[in-house]
Symmetry: C2
Subunit: 202 residues, 2 copies
């Protein structure tokens, strides 16, 4: 048995491990409570090792955001593209998947769709790329499909997509941030919302 080339010390892909562990820590504990000191300690490296791969803590978090978008993209795109189901069914399924993600990963959801790095997001990924990763483009595609089937009115699908996204995002945000009375009634609210949207879009 040959050993791997003995890399000095115990890391080869520290950058990836930093991103992955940071993502997990944010997911579990929230963005505000994590520190570089704890992150590096958990990986068994020195504090300063971070700066070999990232210019700052912010730069690292931005990497986590990118990772999060990719993760989300893999989650949503298949739903939109599943042609075996009707547009209405897929519409409802996408909203539910979106809400479920927010509920299961509130800290991650806030990181991806909250105020963090408003500036940097605009600089790094141009809007198009972000919204592609977000699934907004898939949503636009689905709405276009619905227009062709005559289910909804022929309006600029980007405007429609913005309105629909805002509705579901608002529901998710109010819910995970504790602003909605009767969280227990969530299922009823969601189903009603989808109904109102589909009817209103006609």
């Amino acid at each position: 048995m040959k050993e791997k080339k003995t890399s000095p010390y115990h890391h080869g892909n520290l950058k990836e491990e930093l991103l992955q562990t940071a993502l997990e820590m944010i997911d579990k504990e929230g963005l505000d409570t994590i520190t570089l000191r704890e992150l590096t300690q958990r990986l068994g490296t020195s504090r300063t090792a971070v700066y070999r791969h990232f210019a700052s803590k912010e730069a690292l978090i931005l990497g986590v955001i990118e990772k999060g978008y990719e993760h989300l993209n893999l989650l949503f795109t298949p739903i939109f593209q599943d042609r075996t189901h009707s547009v209405a069914v897929r519409f409802e399924a996408m909203g539910r998947a979106y809400l479920d993600f927010a509920i299961e990963h509130p800290n991650l959801y806030r990181l991806l769709f909250g105020e963090n790095f408003r500036q940097e997001r605009e600089e790094i990924c141009d809007y198009k790329d972000e919204n592609q990763a977000t699934g907004l483009y898939a949503l636009i595609g689905l709405l276009t499909e619905a227009q062709e089937e005559g289910i909804i009115a022929q309006v600029n699908p980007m405007v429609q997509a913005a309105m629909v996204w805002a509705s579901i995002h608002g529901l998710a945000s109010l819910l995970i941030d504790g602003h909605l009375i009767m969280s227990d009634n969530m299922e009823a609210i969601y189903e009603y919302s989808i109904g109102v949207l589909l009817k209103g879009l006609q």
Copy 2:
């Protein structure tokens, strides 16, 4: 000319000044960047004076949140109660006022409707009080009125209110956090959204 009873040092209502100045600082610079040290320095007091009136920085911020809700209440309630205009007009006006507030005071809006103090909010004000201050109760009243006029379907108005609030809140959030493409198209998106809502609620 009689001088005021010479209060020791230069403050009588420090508590109120702390709240007011903190609110202004948050409004201008955001919650994350303000520090107790800068706040007290701006008021010309010692750093430790804060702890005469508040148990912690968090407690002070919570006071700011309460102040914010009151401010908002004064803004919205008149619109809802203005019986000289039709329900549809008031509905549109309330959404616009809500959006305008978010756009003009994004930092304050995030403080009031974001994730901050999720826990404490639930403890201090019970849901009802908060949602009353938020204007949610007024919205429910407006929707009830609309039901009586036969403009919208007779559904549990609390469910309707949650759906409507979520839609506008989502629009405001995505906008001020920079997630929406074509912010320049905002007016079109808003008008379309109100249309979809009114139609969908029928």
